[in-house]
Symmetry: C2
Subunit: 290 residues, 2 copies
């Protein structure tokens, strides 16, 4: 009997469902906008009732409860996304589908997908898009202590040219996400990020902030590489701006394991597929363990 | 035959050598100022030739090379400390003493000692003294990817009242160490840290910086607690200033695993003994494995 694995990318703006064969090739995919929990979760259940799989990897926006001994394990917890606070995502899916579900954050799933695609077992994945998040892996295991990373809300140094901008994070104002996520561009300029001309100084400011996140990940986790995904990174020269700022900031304090071009890089899995690939492998790891 | 374990706390300002019985009770201790590598290492060798032990735990100031497959494994590498760059610390000790030596950073040793003393297996230890360093443990294992943490040089947000101060870090100027290590107090006020009155506003600025390091450790590593050691933390109300700033910065974005008083705390091992205790257990772990 053929084995199929499922992937749920539970995003704040959209859900991406996918089915893979036992070689992790995508055979089906279904995207839809995230609306109310009730509507979004029932659509997901319906899809996986019509397309049976042996196990699911579920990478979700957070914060989420990953503590297996907690009453709210499987919940999306204190998210600012209206209606989604304290929603039992895993509980509802398991009750309806009755299959193993590997639950983690969306960026952990992306990090896992990149690990599987590259063979690199010590890496950090930062996504810079509508929000900013980070997932980290050491020796093939997720870093996250008794919960999970929330690197998007770290404190970094403000750029001296734009000290008056308060930042858009509803919790912290000018944490990393507050000053460097996609929506901060429009909040600061009144122009949608994709419409801002490529020689606008804002891109230097943004790369200054993202480079600091890479510095902090380097000096805390000492990975083999840092992968930067998300919509903001689709801007053509963004990666090289960040690499340059990173090198000048690090100032040779430690040796990198490779060139900065290899150390700070774009995702290797094409078409934003890192999380989906990661979810398939996480489903596989759960299914083969049970 | 009785078993004894050795500890070497290799600090930039002083070396602390100690011997423990098999119950990790200190039976002998010897401190001396760190001078030239040649003089300091030969004193250390002499001490352990006169006081034979079965294995040694060596926590050293860094940066150091912990990559077992590297030609410079066991070296202190790019330190600003004059004369100590690229010194083969472990090689010289092993050649002379011919016993197993567990090599790690001084703050990793402190974190390990606190783990053994509390039973908490997911923790971060930050030392704020002449320099700033951080060690982290997850599920009983050191966080450090292919090297080790260097959290003291992370980027954090500058306090708006003192933007003109450039910071004292020789590599980065105003990284965390540059604006919050002990010597930064004197660099900023012209007065030795211990002589600055306790109601001086500088302590609020310092706690603002250290609280950010705790926020970044929380949002990257999700530990069960953060332990703050080092000379700066000996100032009576420093810990409560930091706890207050931390709570207001976090702004309920995530739930802490316990009260902030338990979450951000002073070392539990008395008389600055965390690293020494950690070194004994690391020596034990190596000796019992061989």
């Amino acid at each position: 009997m053929s084995v199929y694995y499922g992937s749920i990318e539970a995003g704040g703006t959209k859900f991406v469902l996918a089915i893979a064969d036992e070689h992790f090739n995508i055979i089906k995919k279904f995207k839809f906008a995230t609306t109310t929990p009730q509507e979004t979760i029932s659509k997901t259940i319906k899809y996986f009732k019509e397309n049976r799989v042996s196990a699911i990897g579920l990478g979700s926006f957070g914060p989420i409860d990953l503590n297996l001994s907690s009453k709210t394990y499987g919940y999306i917890t204190s998210t600012p996304k209206v209606g989604w606070k304290n929603i039992n995502l895993v509980g509802q899916l398991k009750e309806a589908l009755d299959i193993p579900i590997y639950f983690t954050t969306d960026v952990n799933a992306s990090a896992y997908g990149e690990m599987k695609n590259t063979g690199i077992k010590n890496l950090v994945y930062l996504t810079i898009g509508t929000g900013i998040g980070g997932g980290a892996i050491q020796n093939g295991y997720f870093i996250g202590g008794i919960g999970h990373s929330e690197m998007g809300h770290q404190r970094i140094n403000r750029h001296r040219d734009v000290l008056t901008f308060e930042g858009i994070c509803p919790f912290h104002g000018d944490c990393l996400e507050g000053v460097a996520a996609g929506p901060s561009l429009e909040a600061r300029t009144g122009i949608l990020g994709e419409k801002i001309s490529s020689d606008d100084p804002i891109w230097d400011i943004l790369s200054y902030y993202i480079a600091q996140a890479a510095i902090n990940a380097t000096l805390t986790l000492a990975p083999e590489c840092i992968i930067l995904g998300g919509g903001v990174m689709e801007k053509p020269n963004m990666i090289s701006l960040i690499q340059k700022q990173f090198i000048s900031m690090l100032n040779n304090y430690i040796d990198l394991p490779c060139s900065v071009e290899k150390y700070i890089r774009l995702p290797t899995v094409k078409e934003n597929g890192s999380a989906t690939l990661g979810n398939f492998y996480l489903a596989y790891s759960l299914f083969t363990k049970e």
